[in-house]
Symmetry: D5
Subunit: 140 residues, 10 copies
């Protein structure tokens, strides 16, 4: 928690950084749900320059395309050197994944390790998410 003011530049940091291309493959079935959990997410706090750590969970109903896992992993890994706040991580990941896979709906959640004793979680969604949506209990 370095001193100094929190600026607009901090707030927008990492939103435009170029990241690896996401890939998809054609879904073979209609109307089912996929959950992917990536517990080794790390990025850089734009204000302190120190690393943040967390888990990114995502759940979606594919339309025509499923996200290819290896490319998704490379995309996630690339945040390692990106300065970006965790609220923005979650929103940008949603935006990028929706654009790549055009799902029926998608939810992205980020659970970040405590900093200064405070744990932060953010969740964003796209499309008509079911009213009884929840992440599978297997995700911790």
């Amino acid at each position: 928690m370095a001193g100094g003011k929190y600026t607009e530049k901090h707030a927008q940091s990492g939103l435009k950084t170029k990241l690896p291309k996401l890939e998809t493959f054609p879904s073979q079935f209609p109307n089912y749900e996929i959950t992917i959990s990536y517990p080794e997410f790390t990025s850089i706090c734009p204000k302190t320059g120190l690393p943040d750590f967390g888990s990114i969970h995502l759940k979606y109903m594919p339309n025509q395309k499923c996200l290819e896992l290896k490319a998704l992993k490379m995309y996630m890994l690339a945040y390692r050197d990106v300065g970006i706040f965790y609220e923005n991580v979650v929103n940008r990941v949603l935006q990028d994944l929706v654009k790549a896979s055009d799902p029926m709906w998608m939810v992205v959640k980020g659970v970040f390790n405590a900093r200064g004793g405070m744990l932060g979680i953010a969740q964003a969604q796209y499309g008509k998410v079911p009213t009884n949506f929840s992440f599978p209990s297997e995700l911790k």
Copy 2:
């Protein structure tokens, strides 16, 4: 994660492989729910040739027929040598079990061990699943 492109052939692998016959017995009661959990599922990744591991959970309301457990186990065991993606496992299991038992509704969920640090879960459903559906908390 072997190199090379992800092809249509990969994507459809295992969807037509012949599997052991499922059997049923006549349900003695109307209007109840059965959950079966098979934590020793293993198949082969069609892209890398390496084994995948996971748990398959299923819940259904029988109509006239209940799935016979021993035949179901033999059916599940047979995936051991089948190259098939886990999204397809879940959808094919649902298709095959619905065809064999003609249930009021059925949900199949697959929880697969992490690969490359990413955990994958897929869930598919058939029929008019109750709006407050969930798997029993006993399934960890």
Copy 3:
């Protein structure tokens, strides 16, 4: 898992076996819920002759009568020597308890130890069960 076919006789085994009488006492209050959990249930598989083990959970809203616990325990204990499939256990328990206590509604759930690596759970219900019904989280 002894060999041989699964017959109608297997499927109906234990449904008519005489069991100890259930008793009740007059409920002193309207409109509340009772949950009872019996983790030491054991019966006999009618096909293999080997014992099955499980937990029986039940929740109900009494109308005029509450189930007396000691008689209920004797009723549950009596399955120890009964050959009956677990789907039938759950349905018969529900039938017998409803008949004895005439509740507003009742749910019976049986969670049975894995056999051949497969865990089985069955749940049956009577009456107008609340839409947000669940068993208390204290039941594991």
Copy 4:
């Protein structure tokens, strides 16, 4: 589990026993919820004379008055020498607390240690409890 019949006297035991006075203080805010958990509840089984043990959880939305904790504790402690069935504990606690604090709504749940291998839970409610009501997950 001493022998003998279960009588009407047993069934009503403890319902009229005088207990310490509950106290309240004026709520400073509208429209919020309070949960109190008392894990050291003990009373006497009116049939066997042996002690019962359990946890009493309660959740309510205050109207004008909040329950004062020290008096509530004294009230709970006083059950130590009262012969009363656990179904009646939960209903009487609800009745007494509602009378003392006149809440918007209240739910009282009692989770009692296993007797004869059977775990018992009872839950009673007053007023217009929210449809998605649940006790906080912090209560084990």
Copy 5:
């Protein structure tokens, strides 16, 4: 639990105490949820003068402004020397945070360590909270 009566002065203690200023930064995205958990909350019981300990969890959907974490931490830390009941902690935190950040909706929950064997939890909310609201399961 010192003796003496519980007065109006006790009941209102800490409601007007000056606390550090909360700060915000402009939200970069619409329509997502933020959860913050602060497990090191401590304040002073106005009646006994002894410290209380607990966790404060909050979840909100930002409108234009996100709560800045460092200022929020300083705000939380400042309760260390404030005499205030835990019901009031939760309501005041909600009031102050809503005033500072003008969210779409917000929920504040406080889980306080047992005193005299009784665990206390309070939860307050502002705005149109979703009907299926819950805190993330990661908050233990």
Copy 6:
């Protein structure tokens, strides 16, 4: 935690109170260990008059005699109305059980619920306890 000084009378309270007789039966085998856990222990704090709660665990190697469980339970139950500090509970239980059963060795441990935020545990032993002694991990 009522005020006033802690006197010699408090310190010795309950050490001479008459308790139900312990019984034994002849051990049928040499050289084995028995562990008994009683999680529903309650007594009275001699200073405050308020109840204490805890678990009593004991492990011993019988010589000629095993402790009979029903009499042991009645002995434990009798502390319900005895004013005695928990350090003394553990030592007196050890003394009484050793006298009744004359074991090769015995260890008694009491784990008591927190009071004023402090958890207390006491452990006493008799005879030549094995150097690698521990209570079974099944005791929580």
Copy 7:
């Protein structure tokens, strides 16, 4: 807990009951340890006639012979109808298994469900058990 005295006949019940034959196969390696856990043990209390339930764990170093699992299971199952105290179960199992397999050393532990609120565990051993012996942590 039926009334009446605890007799010598009770104390020796089940020690001579004929049980299924244990079988062995030749160990292929020297100097290693085998642990077997059987969580579905049930027998009959010779005093009350009610069933007891528990887990039997055993660990041994084979000399020339390993215990064959299927025969061991049939042996364990046969206690289902035997009236025997749990202290005797553990000692008899040890005796029978040592006789059948002549191990370097063996430890047998029985963990039995609570009766009357008291949990009982017994452990017996044969031969020169290693000084740092413990059961694997995987056994709960």
Copy 8:
């Protein structure tokens, strides 16, 4: 983690601060062990001025005197406003408690909440601590 150098003054901070008097009562038995756990410890980091939080566990064998719990709690509470490093907390607590109670031996352990992502634990001991010493598994 405020900037600046770590000075000798920081390193010795809090070692001489006057704290409330510890009290004792005469032990009624020889040769047993007492464990006390205080999970609500808080002090001030002398370098940053921010609060630290942790649990203090202590185990000792009394000689003539037992530590009186209420005075011990007041002693622990008094660290709330003391600037002192956690390594020094543990050593000073040991020193003060040994001086007050003159035990056969004593071990003090402090488990402190993570700061900057690093968890710190310190443990100090006095006298001839048993070679197989450990804190009871209940402290966790």
Copy 9:
């Protein structure tokens, strides 16, 4: 558990099957310990032809050579089609790994899923294993 006798051929099955070559790399440091856990082990029961599942844990102190992980994984994977009893798995893995890496000492443990309700664990060791050896608590 198919019928028929357990033969010498069963007992030795899989002991000579050719498996992939293990590889090593030169250890850069003396005198430290490495633990590797492989939770996805599967082989075939030589008697029933059905798959077994389990976890293989190994801990060793390298002498000059460390086991290369990718080759070790290929070695473990190759058991997928080998008929071999789990006692033999553990001993053969030890033998092969010792031969390949010539360690100061090594311990191999296999924890196998329950079959017929019985859980089996085997552990074998080579060289002068430390007297206080244990597997790290992180392994489950």
Copy 10:
């Protein structure tokens, strides 16, 4: 797990990389133990170029000097961009910390996330570590 051979260059990667300076402060007490746990360790696999993640635990008895936590954190953070195998991480951390702080003894343990389904742990030690050494159970 990229292809190609594992070379000497891989094996020594990261052993000489310059890392931030560790700092110490004078210990104020003799003869106590400090444990530090850093759960956010990450480095780069020298063979695949992909990140590794893990926890580093260390325990030591200071001689004259204690490790300063902020510098230790900066030292740990610096591995983020270092290509080094996890066996070498543990040994190098031990070497560097011993050199900086000259402790009586020290143990360093690294627990690394699974790769290819295999979990790896390494532990190295310096000096005369107590024979009953273990890491505190708080380090899960």
